[in-house]
């Protein structure tokens, strides 16, 4: 892991939210990449091997949970740090996420400073 500029891959289809997160992450010296759907997101994780993935649940082509399941089944990627960032407040979704060993689960609406704190915390482990 690049400790000075850790890389974060955001898999999120909302352009405005993505731009906000990009602004915030770059300002905090993170390397930033974004994909807008599940399939492209999975390919990007394989290709870029980011230090952390920020993952939405409702995504085109493959939802966040399916992407997460595939990550955990892949020997080379199963230890990828993932933080879920989703509008879903269902406890069932939270359970599913933590059963796939996500580092954290953030609900939208969220506070950008808190997101950075949680990302930094997840990267420490």
């Amino acid at each position: 892991m690049n400790r000075k500029n850790p890389s974060v891959l955001l898999i999120e289809d909302d352009p405005v939210v993505s731009k906000l997160i990009e602004f915030k992450l770059k300002k905090n010296n993170f390397q930033f990449e974004r994909r807008t759907n599940g399939l492209e997101g999975l390919s990007a994780v394989k290709e870029l091997k980011p230090d952390l993935v920020l993952l939405d649940v409702m995504l085109p082509s493959m939802n966040g949970f399916e992407l997460l399941r595939q990550l955990r089944e892949d020997e080379g990627l199963k230890n990828t740090r993932v933080i879920m960032l989703t509008a879903s407040m269902k406890i069932k979704d939270k359970k599913t996420a933590f059963s796939h060993e996500v580092k954290d689960y953030m609900e939208k609406p969220f506070e950008t400073d808190e997101l950075i704190i949680r990302i930094n915390k997840a990267l420490l482990n």
Binding site: D14, V16, V17, K19, L20, F23, K24, K27, K108, P109, F110, E111, T112, D113, E114
Partner: protein, 334 residues
């Protein structure tokens, strides 16, 4: 044969006329198709241009908004970005609202402040004064959602509450609920309640916004509501809706008035819809003092009134039975 020839002769001129007519119709249709095609291309080009412009403005605003959220820019910088271009206001607001749906806490507080920067505020104030009805509605909605009013805006909204357009009237009334003056809020609620064909949902929004602080109901507000509900000019259906709103907003300060209206012989409280609403209020507020009147209403001629009274009596009786067993521990036999 001769007859057939005559028929053929008779048909020939008609055939020529029909052919000519067919050609004319085909030509007109072709022309209309070309026109529609050109119009649709024109619309597509216009929409594409608008889309590109919207994207351009959004790309200008977003970095400025993010910088402001991160304390790297001030409101004045953003205020200077509008250049009086109408589209910029809507793109800016859409961006802020989109962000507001996704962020929380301090970020949301800052974003809300952006919705009321001076150029945006003035733009919507001008919308309120516009000749165009749609623009005026947009203006009302802005003040309805931002809860920002001053005396100038209130004076415009007071006129718009009486507008013929029902939605404008509602939106103006809702915007007026942001006023700290009880008289403004009462004016808006009363004016809207006097209209025909209003919906309960709309009235309920006004009601919730009318109440300044739901945790601190006040005598003044209760008196104002009593005056509105008992106003002679209010249609019975709307009076029933208003009473339902009192119940649903749990405005218990009005329990005394609700009971006295139920017991009143005045004609304005005799409409079955009004009586049912008053009965349901007694039931919701668990008012045991209304039991006598409720029992009398079990013999009412309207079956809806009887049903509501029966349900209220049953519920009140049950609650009183539940409360009764608690009493003995406080009684001593000694």
């Amino acid at each position: 044969m001769e007859q057939l020839g005559q028929i053929g002769y008779l048909l020939m001129p008609d055939l020529n006329t029909s052919m000519n007519l067919l050609l004319i119709v085909t030509f007109v249709l072709l022309l209309a198709t070309i026109m529609l095609f050109l119009i649709s291309i024109g619309i597509r080009i216009h929409l594409a241009r608008q889309g590109k412009l919207a994207e351009k403005y959004e790309n200008e605003f977003l970095p400025a908004i993010f910088a402001y959220m991160d304390d790297d820019a001030d409101v004045e910088g953003i205020s200077r970005m509008f250049d009086g271009i109408k589209m910029k206001y809507s793109i800016f607001e859409k961006s802020v609202i989109k962000l507001l749906k996704n962020v929380d806490g301090e970020d949301a507080v800052k974003l809300r402040k952006l919705l009321v920067v001076e150029p945006v505020f003035n733009f919507h104030l001008n919308q309120l004064k516009s000749e165009n009805e749609i623009e005026r509605i947009k203006g009302c909605n802005y003040f309805r959602f931002t809860d920002l009013v001053n005396r100038e805006i209130i004076s415009v909204l007071k006129r718009l509450v009486h507008a013929e357009n029902m939605y404008m009237s509602f939106s103006a009334a809702s915007a007026m609920m942001a006023s700290g003056e009880l008289s403004d809020r009462s004016y808006a609620l009363e004016a809207y309640s006097k209209r025909r064909g209003i919906s309960k949902m709309a009235l309920l929004e006004l009601f919730y916004r009318f109440i300044d602080d739901s945790r601190n109901q006040t005598e003044e507000e209760a008196i104002a509501l009593e005056n509105i509900i008992s106003n002679e000019d209010i249609h019975s259906g709307n009076r029933a809706l208003l009473i339902q709103c009192v119940t649903e907003t749990n405005y218990y300060f009005m329990i005394g008035s609700l009971q006295s209206w139920l017991e009143s012989d005045d004609s304005k409280w005799q409409d079955p819809a009004v009586v049912v609403a008053l009965i349901k209020a007694q039931r919701a507020f668990l008012n045991p003092d209304a039991l006598n009147r409720l029992n009398q209403l079990l013999n009412h001629e309207d079956e809806k009134v009887v049903k509501a009274a029966s349900e209220a009596v049953t519920e009140l009786d049950n609650k009183i039975e539940v409360i009764d067993p608690i009493k003995p521990p406080f009684q001593t036999d000694s």
